[in-house]
Amino acid sequence: MAIAFKQETFRDDFSYRNSPENIRRFPFPFDRDEYMYSVNMEPHVKGQKGTVFESLIDVDEHYIAEMHDRALVLKEDPLRYQALPHMMTAQWDTLELLMEEQAAGYPEHFTLIRNGDQWRWINRPLGIDDTFTFGDRATLPYEPLEYITRQAQGDFCIVDQRDGNLWMDAGMVTTQADWSLDFDIGMNFMEWHGPVPLAHQMGVFERALKFLLNLQQGKPTRRFNWTMTINPRLDTSPENYPKWGPDRATVTPENVGDKVHLRVEVQTLWRLPRSNAILFVIRCYLMNMNELVTVPKWARRFPRVLRTLPPELIDYKGLTRYRETTMDWLSKYDDGAPTSPGTFPD
């Protein structure tokens, strides 16, 4: 079934909203009434229809608008896309993976025709029909990673594997929760996770790294991460913090429903075939509190999660100024009834 793509914005007038169907498929990340860091990884396998796991690379009604926002970010700040020279093979691996998965999941919107190394890629939503030689970067208008990630929702990092570690050596990062690719590029797994509180001491990163070093091709894995954002803004980069930081001081009991968003990242990790690098996809989903409370289970659970959050996480995620106001607003939707296990609506 064809997706009805929306025309909307993630800046200025912030017209982004979720349709009722899109709310039902929102990847609510909490399977219980509390939250703490853990090595929360599971196989990335296809899920039921009407969930974001229907396809392994999810495309939804916000696709065109997100790609437009990415283009705007890159015009202002081209350093959001960077790749070190030794990552060219991994770039082609990534282009192949994203084209294959998008074409497999959404044949009415994307088509890939492979004829030896002559490939034709048709992207109907964006009006693209390009023929190129796989492996020859001169036949594409951008480097392969930039080319394909201008046509795929989510942020992307490619990490190289060497010396028993993972190195962030390429990325397209325009929809991030307050971290900088330009600053982190070239770092290893422990280094770029440096600012995260508590998790190092808990051994989370040590175990996660060990797991990833053994990731097998054809067996992608996934995890959830989450934070909150004021206004439906995709580009909450540290670079632009002076632009979006003031929003955090604008939350009042009257505007919580519209302004405060749950920001969920479905992160998938894929071993790449030629380069042996790992592709890390950070697919971001935004939902405001008015939308969230249309699902009674989520309306009960989310304020409980916010209440149990360790102070270090409140500070790190930048919730300090508006968490209380949001909990107060949400509490009128929490009648205290028990919630069912799992993340899906009842």
């Binding site: 280094e191 996770h193 670079e239």
Partner: protein, 201 residues
Amino acid sequence: MLVEGIKSRPVYRGLTIQPRARRHIFALEGEGAHALLDRKTELDETARSRSEILYLGRGSQGKGHDEALRKLGADMFFTAPTIATLLFRLKGTLATAHMGTRLYIAGTEGFIGQAMIVALDNGMDHASIITEHRGSLARRVQCVHCKGITEDVTHSPFACSHCSLPLLVRDHYSRRLGAFQGVNVDAEEPGSAPDPEELFL
């Protein structure tokens, strides 16, 4: 001592002379001279004849160690007036260096970071470079907003020397940039920046 526990910050293990190296290059800044002078007994006749010392007499206490270093009798000895000129010379030295060359860097963290970048650009592996922190704890900081670098930052917050935003100095370090990250401290409520504290002396 430096603040422990910053995961992205390099560990400066201290100068130990590698006896088997075919060439020793010492890039020393200010108090970094002591890192070598304290180990002069490890520098035997052979090592001295294979050594090149590049020295910049600035640093936290501004005291010159030219004479003491010169007396070590290295094969080559060069004093630079500024970091930029020392790095220029280092670039030249590394460009013609052979296999078996060891690079030793000692001085303030900002100096180590910048000399390290020259070495990495020359294809050296960061793990093979021997470093020792000496002198002030002042930080080299990159403004994450305008990308400008401010040297010798002793206070946090401080005003970015390029875009003048008040920046909080974070404990997050990029080896590629040789700098800590500075983030606008009062973005959420402009004008609310706290008073600077002297944190990195």
